[in-house]
């Protein structure tokens, strides 16, 4: 008897079979020589908008490396990407899957500190390398076994830059309005310290919970006493709501936001009308936009000249650094090649931004100083990135205008 309809059982059976095929078939089909690497990126949830570009950048550079002959004598990289759903528990299962099923040497990506922090113990226990695009200080604190590298500015680096922007805008009395999350809260103290040093005054620090239905009370409290400026430490969804609330209330204090909220790869300007966004200043760790490496990267992504990719450059660089370190250490063994990262990334050495050329030079035994698309990719001994430049922009007539680049 033939059953012509697809019922639930068949669907379940099909799914199960598909997953088994995925489990069983993949390692057998894959060439033994492939080097598996993995990334956990957000494709859904609050940070979902960042995932696709980060994935695209990583995929593109993997293809370039593989088409250029691979690494370690012609072996190809195989990049597995999992969705974090902006949820730490999901991030953990995704990391587990990458480590144990795909046997990856690197778990990279990681937009968002809570997910990077939750995945950290697993990756360290497996002796693999974690590369993050997240800011919380806690990620590189404690015993990291030297296996964690941060492709992003540390939270405590953001604060002083905020104070410098406030000072250059001549805002003396300021208030901080901050979301409760590990990325943002480690900025507050360094910001206050730098403000005091520069002769300014922090009148109040107001913290709010993420995912609130309304931010009216917090906005009234922060803007009501009419400070010169308000430093809004927010992510995208809450900053959209807050800036609308500020516009509605007709408050006059200048707003300085973070790029994670007030830009978010252009998502902010799509979410509000130009009147709401007018005059908002924001800052973020930026790729060195004038560097040749970054311009090449924008072209690679097929975007118009001058596009600011905030995070996509980081995954691009994670793949490049991994490939270079493996080639330098002549092994795919994570615990070994991780020691080569600073060898190929930090000065001294010949500066090079082309991954294929860089690989060739490493093979020839030359000392290189790789320059990435997202940053110059130099690291200190804890794995924190050095020399991150920050971009200060202002929104005018619905467009971002660059004010200055701070270092």
């Amino acid at each position: 008897m033939m059953d012509s309809t697809i019922n639930r059982r068949h669907l379940l059976a099909g799914l199960g079979a598909a997953s088994l095929a995925g489990l069983a078939g993949k390692p057998a089909l894959a060439q033994a020589a492939e080097i598996p690497i993995g990334m956990v990126l957000p494709f859904s949830g609050a940070t979902g908008p960042y995932g696709p570009d980060m994935k695209k950048a990583a995929d593109l550079v993997v293809k370039i490396i593989n088409d250029g002959g691979g690494i370690l004598g012609g072996r190809k990289l195989h990049l597995y990407i999992e969705d974090s759903e902006t949820n730490p528990t999901v991030g953990v299962t995704a990391t587990r899957k990458l480590l144990d099923v795909n046997k990856v040497e690197l778990v990279g990506g990681f937009w968002g500190s809570p997910i990077a922090l939750a995945a950290k113990p697993l990756i360290l226990a497996a002796n693999k390398v974690e590369m993050v695009s997240a800011s919380a200080n806690g990620i590189t604190d404690g015993d990291t076994k030297g296996l964690i590298y941060r492709f992003q500015a540390k939270s405590s680096q953001w604060g002083p830059v905020g104070a410098k922007v406030m000072t250059s805008l001549k805002l003396k009395k300021v208030t901080v309005l901050a979301q409760q999350n590990p990325f943002v809260i480690s900025m507050i103290e360094p910001f206050k310290a730098e403000m005091a040093r520069l002769g300014g005054q922090v009148m109040d620090v107001i913290q709010y919970n993420p995912d609130q239905a309304s931010y009216r009370a917090e906005v009234e409290k922060a803007f009501g006493p009419e400070p010169d400026g308000v430093f809004c430490l927010s992510l995208l969804t809450d900053f959209v709501a807050i800036s609308k609330e500020v516009y509605r209330g007709g408050f006059k204090s200048k707003v300085l936001g973070l790029g994670t909220g007030a830009d978010a790869d252009g998502a902010y300007l799509k979410s509000v009308t130009p009147e709401v966004a007018e005059g908002i200043h924001h800052l973020q760790p930026a790729p060195p936009m004038d560097s040749a490496a970054y311009k090449k990267f924008v072209k690679l992504m097929g975007a118009p000249e001058g596009t600011a990719f905030l995070f996509a450059g980081n995954t691009h660089d994670q793949v490049c650094v991994t490939a270079l370190a493996m080639e330098h250490a002549k092994t795919q063994e994570a615990a070994v090649w991780v020691k080569s990262i600073r060898e190929v990334c930090n000065p001294p050495g010949e500066e090079v931004d082309d991954i294929l050329k860089a690989l060739e030079m490493v093979r020839a035994g030359k000392k290189i100083n790789f320059v990435g698309a997202g940053a110059t990719v130099d690291f200190d001994e804890r794995g924190d990135q050095l020399n991150r430049s920050f971009l200060h922009q202002v929104i005018e007539n619905g467009k971002n205008k660059i004010v200055e680049v701070l270092t």
Partner: protein, 306 residues
């Protein structure tokens, strides 16, 4: 692969515990609890805070006890209110817990959370077997709780609970202490949710408020609905099915190159939704429904009524 499977076992165990707890409260006693995640978070944080000074076992017991206590208080709070208001009170409770955890940084670490939570039996085995031992512990915990709850549900107490669920007026008329029965059921469920939270903390060894979102509550209800309300066997099956669906879909993109991460993200949640809708249409009583005894089971000759 083994370590990945142990992860799945632990996660299924956590959701099974949460589901079993909800199955006592909502399945057997008819008390809607939309604040499930609050109790799980409370259990996790109690464990995380008490395990370093007291050891894992006392911490786990304390987590269960605290959750039971708070459940009792909540159940009493809603005594003057109509039944459905318990649902609203529990939503409120879940939110209160989340906001407290996020803001009382002196105790909970706030948004930064708590790291390095000690695991049970960690000194007995080598590091690579750590996960295996935890998975075995999780299974033992589920087995223990399952046996306990199944015994409870089959006992006179369980029968009285179902009577209260199906018609509290009739139960009261028959002299059953309706309020006490409800409070007991709610506290039992709360304690088990605390245990689930403890297991969550042991497994992740790092907790922060963003791990305890209302999706935990939603998955618990899905597991109960999928398995069959009131049926503990069904619940285990339901919790396992949902986790299997969520994780199995991960492999779709490895097997088929046409599906990329972005589509898969939407597809996975869509599939779960579709599954639940189909289930409710085709099999509203759940996959392994609660056995219902009819009058004719006792009086085969008696036709017509039930």
């Amino acid at each position: 692969m083994i370590a990945y499977l142990t992860t799945l076992i632990v996660l299924v165990a956590i959701s099974a515990l949460v589901g079993l707890a909800l199955n006592v409260q909502w399945g057997a006693a008819g008390l809607v609890n939309f604040g499930v995640v609050g109790f799980v978070a409370l259990g996790a944080y109690t464990t995380a805070l008490l395990a370093p000074p007291l050891g894992w076992f006392p911490a786990m017991i304390a987590a269960a006890a605290l959750c039971a206590l708070i459940s009792t208080v909540l159940a009493f709070l809603s005594i003057r209110l109509e039944e459905n208001y318990l649902a609203i009170v529990t939503i409120g409770f879940g939110e209160v817990v989340r906001i407290l955890l996020l803001n009382e940084s002196w105790l909970t670490g706030g948004a930064v959370g708590i790291a390095d939570i000690p695991r049970p039996f960690v000194n007995l085995v080598s590091q690579q077997h750590n996960d295996l031992v935890l998975a075995a512990f999780a299974l033992a915990l589920v087995a223990g709780v399952f046996t306990l709850l199944e015994t409870l549900v089959r006992s006179p107490f369980g029968r009285a609970l179902r009577a209260v669920r199906d018609d509290s007026t009739v139960a009261a008329a028959l002299g059953k202490p309706v309020l006490l029965l409800r409070v007991k059921a709610f506290a039992t469920g709360g304690a088990v949710m605390g245990l689930a939270g403890a297991l969550h903390a042991f497994y992740l060894t790092y907790i922060d408020p963003s791990q305890f979102t209302s999706i935990i509550t939603a998955y618990a209800f899905m597991a109960v609905i999928a398995g069959g309300r009131g049926s503990n066997f069904g619940l285990l099956f339901g919790a396992g099915t949902i986790m299997a669906l969520l994780e199995a879909t991960r492999f779709l993109k490895d097997a088929f190159a046409v599906i990329d991460g972005t589509q898969l993200a939407a597809l996975r949640l869509g599939l779960i939704g579709l599954g639940i809708v189909l289930l409710l249409i085709l099999r509203p009583q759940g996959l392994l429904p609660e056995p219902q005894r009819k009058v004719r089971d006792f009086f085969p000759d008696h036709e017509g009524s039930s």
